[in-house]
């Protein structure tokens, strides 16, 4: 038996455990209760949501679907997310190779520089980008500046996720492919990319979810266009309407779905690397 289970424990152990468990529940409630109410209020009949609930309706969802400005904002958000993610995935994947496999002068410095934007405050990045676009490049704020802004914080995630996958990559597979007549380009295409594809996909999906609901950096870099988070923000200024609740609920469900998908992808990546790890010695 595990010694930790038979170890004599303090007489207060039971009490301590009960308190900790309660505390954990309180924290979880604090994290998720507001979201639960948001979802609930999106189905509320009354124009001014609050407790108690007066009745349930899909009215706000219908209103949402027929709101042209809102749909335009959603469409803009999707465009930005797809464009930023596509670029970030290509740039991030390409950057991950030299970062993991060496061939650069200061690998640790480079790694920190590539991932630092994750840690920097959004407001700081936003202001910096605004100054840069307007005062240095003298460019109009537009769709393109938003996409460029989103690249700043999505690329690091791709670098991190793809880099982790490359770290555990069995270089012998590349040797084997070269040995079997594959040129470096074909090794990349037939061996390396298929094996890191789940990580690339997982990174891309996370990038989409981050981009879709990014507010701060978008706010600083956007021109006259509306994205979904900006739209919600402008609506809230006139008071919370149940329609915004409905939009937020849809956003929540969409984000969860994409995250779930990326989690599945990462799981598949882990399974494949598990196979690589167990190869050889496991046989019997």
């Amino acid at each position: 038996m595990d010694p930790i289970q038979t170890m004599p424990v303090s007489p207060y152990a039971r009490l301590v455990r009960a308190v900790l468990r309660t505390w954990a529940l309180v924290v979880l409630a604090f994290l998720y209760l507001p979201i639960a109410f948001l979802v609930l209020f999106s189905f509320e009949e009354s124009r001014t949501p609050g407790l108690p609930i007066t009745g349930l309706t899909l009215h706000w969802y219908e209103k949402m679907i027929s709101n042209g400005i809102l749909l335009g904002a959603v469409w803009n958000s999707i465009l930005v997310a797809v464009a930023a993610t596509t670029l970030a995935t290509i740039i991030g994947t390409m950057a991950a190779f030299p970062l993991v496999r060496g061939g650069i002068r200061f690998p640790n410095v480079a790694r920190i520089l590539f991932t630092l934007p994750i840690m920097l405050p959004g407001a700081l990045i936003g202001v910096a980008l605004l100054l840069f676009f307007r005062r240095v490049l003298d460019a109009e704020l537009s769709f393109w500046t938003v996409i460029a802004g989103h690249l700043v914080f999505t690329t690091p995630y791709i670098v991190l996720i793809v880099g982790a996958r490359l770290q555990g990559f069995d270089r012998m597979l590349e040797w084997a492919a070269a040995d079997l007549g594959a040129s470096p380009a074909r090794v990349l295409r037939h061996i390396v990319l298929p094996l890191i594809a789940p990580a690339i996909m997982a990174g891309a999906l996370i990038s989409v979810t981050l981009s879709i609901d990014e507010f701060v950096i978008t706010f600083f870099t956007v021109g006259p266009q509306l994205t979904l988070p900006i739209y919600i923000y402008t609506q809230i200024k006139f008071g919370v309407t149940p329609e915004v609740n409905a939009v937020a609920t849809v956003l929540l469900v969409g984000t969860m779905a994409v995250l779930g998908l990326s989690w599945l992808m990462a799981g598949q990546a882990r399974r494949i690397s598990g196979l690589i790890g167990s190869r050889g010695g496991a046989g019997r």
Partner: protein, 380 residues
């Protein structure tokens, strides 16, 4: 494809050297491997076997020297352009492909047409006996089966030379013996030159047509298993392969036949052919295999190398008995097989007796004592 090329070597290493900074992994190795050979690189860990294979495969560049494959200098040729294929120690099967796709990979890279690819995949899976498992993924295979896939994958390209780096290292003993037989059969069947790395002397002796014994980045001796076993060029080789008696003495010309004279008395006749460079008298080591040594109360007549001594140990080992005799030249171990009925019981009675041990001079080998294991003792 191979051409006539009579006398052309499949692999030729000329003064091949590989350095990793200060470490010398391979130190001026020269080797020639004939087409169709089953050539073993044998040596202790770290002696440079894998390095040699990786050089031939093209995975690491030579520091100095030259490498030829089928007569052509390939020093600067990348791996995917060399007419050799490798079976890696950990197999390196592609985890995202099925067994059949793994075998087909090299053929796809060679841009073989679909029908021919399919035909060859079937042919080589059949050769290794895995036709039934063609749709499985590598993760669903046992170690021995993965090994066979790796073999089929490498052979399917019909390379001039197949490189195998301790391919049986990860298998358990029984499977290993089975695969040794299997590998020999496959090699004879396809006729491809095999270069096989192992640190298991028994594996090398049983499979190879020729063996190169390596130590510290050098080839100490190369030859047929029999030559290596019965004519080791130095103490290192004799010690590494099998068991041997080492008797220290001095070489002395003694009338007609030359002898090794021992410090505490006694002398034995040595082989008529001695290694070059041993013509002058000096400190030498005489080596003789235990199974070549006979033991008895009286020595027979004739040209035998004979020593007298006292039996200090008799050990029954199942199919043979091991008798240790303390002589003037040191302890001499003999192995006697139990082929003649009651022989083993007779040996038991020898303990503490004064006996003679003798062997045919031609079955012993003499090397200079002061060579610490260098490569200077080639056989005359």
């Amino acid at each position: 494809m191979t051409g006539i090329g009579a006398g052309r070597l499949a692999i030729e290493l000329i003064e091949a050297t590989k350095r990793y900074g200060e470490t010398i992994a391979l130190d001026g190795v020269s080797l020639g491997i004939e087409p169709g050979e089953f050539f073993c690189l044998l040596g202790p860990s770290g002696c440079g076997k894998t390095t040699t294979l990786n050089l031939i495969g093209g995975f690491i560049p030579l520091t100095a020297g030259e490498l030829r494959i089928e007569g052509r200098r390939v020093n600067d040729l990348p791996p995917h352009r060399r007419n050799v294929n490798t079976v890696f120690q950990n197999y390196a099967l592609f985890p995202h492909m099925t067994v059949a796709q793994n075998v087909a990979f090299g053929l796809r890279m060679a841009r073989l047409d679909g029908r021919e690819t399919e035909r060859r995949v079937a042919e080589y899976l059949d050769l290794v006996g895995l036709s039934a498992l063609r749709a499985r993924s590598p993760a669903q295979l046992s170690g021995g089966q993965q090994q066979r896939v790796a073999l089929a994958r490498a052979l399917a390209r019909r390379p001039a030379v197949l490189l195998l780096d301790e391919p049986l290292g990860a298998l358990d003993l029984k499977l290993r013996k089975q695969m040794q037989v299997e590998l020999s059969r496959i090699q004879r069947q396809v006729g491809t030159t095999f270069v096989f790395v192992t640190h298991d002397q028994e594996e090398a002796l049983s499979m190879a047509t020729r063996i190169a014994v390596m130590s510290d980045g050098r080839v100490v001796q190369s030859g047929t298993p029999r030559e290596i076993y019965y004519r080791p060029v130095d103490r290192f080789v004799a010690d590494f392969i099998g068991e041997s008696n080492f008797l220290e003495g001095h070489l002395a010309a003694d009338g007609g036949a030359r002898r090794v004279r021992f410090r505490d008395g006694g002398a034995v006749i040595v082989p008529s052919e001695l290694p070059v460079g041993l013509a002058r008298a000096g400190a030498v080591t005489l080596m003789v295999r235990p199974e070549c040594v006979s033991v008895g109360t009286t020595a027979p007549e004739g040209q035998w190398a004979t020593l007298t001594g006292r039996v200090i140990n008799v050990a029954f080992l199942g199919n043979h008995t091991r008798v240790t005799v303390q002589t003037a030249a040191g302890a001499v171990v003999t192995l006697r097989p139990h082929s003649e009925g009651s022989r083993s019981a007779a040996l038991d009675g020898l303990l503490d007796q004064e006996v003679c041990v003798w062997w045919s001079p031609q079955e012993s080998t003499v090397v200079a004592s002061d060579t610490g294991g260098g490569a200077d003792g080639s056989l005359a």
